[in-house]
Symmetry: C2
Subunit: 123 residues, 2 copies
């Protein structure tokens, strides 16, 4: 059946969590939020677009940094309340210039940094 | 520094999204929620434990189904408001008996089922 973004189950702020995964490596890059319009814009433009809760505006990933996410495929989960976007990520996904936002591992009760910032701009 | 689950940034319900990823294949299996106690229990027990919003109780993944998630590593994101758990998943992660909850892809504007339920119980 045809997909209608309005049929996803949004929270009381009208948002669903969106997980971005590198389509080639499988690495989980980041998690952000989408409303129905962000889902629609992402599908129509092929550029992953989130809703910024802090700035209350659409956030076309990489629009200012150049670290864009080209949509390879969007998937939805069984409960229709979470979105997975498989992407081609240009440069780092994280604002700290690391490839992934999940660069802190918990090992033996300690926080361990397992990823360094990318040097220069590979965007 | 030593990790304290209370230092994560929980939402107004006291929860953070937790993404479960197959540690071996990289497949994203599911997304659920954890409160600080669920984070602590997961780290202490090595069994991934969520907080069920619908039932308002701890949810030791696989406790009834046998489809347990053995924790390989927990990671936190740059904003400390999302958790990634790398797991060894026994059998299907999804309650529909599919390996992953993200079995519906959006292709050419249509919803396409890309994964079948696992036959029998491989738990």
């Amino acid at each position: 059946m045809g997909f209608d973004p309005e049929t996803l189950k949004y929270d009381d702020r009208g948002l669903v969590p969106a997980i971005a995964q590198d389509a080639a490596s499988g690495e989980v890059l980041m998690m952000a939020w989408m409303n129905a319009d962000a889902v629609r814009r992402t599908l129509e433009s092929g550029r992953v677009t989130y809703w910024s809760r802090s700035r209350q505006c659409f956030w076309v990933k990489g629009e200012t940094s150049g670290h864009v996410q080209k949509l390879v495929e969007m998937r939805i989960d069984c409960d229709r309340d979470c979105v997975l976007v498989l992407v081609e990520q240009s440069g780092p996904a994280c604002h700290t210039n690391r490839r992934s936002c999940f660069y802190t591992a918990l090992r033996d009760g300690q926080e361990v940094e397992i990823m360094s910032p990318i040097e220069g701009d590979l965007g």
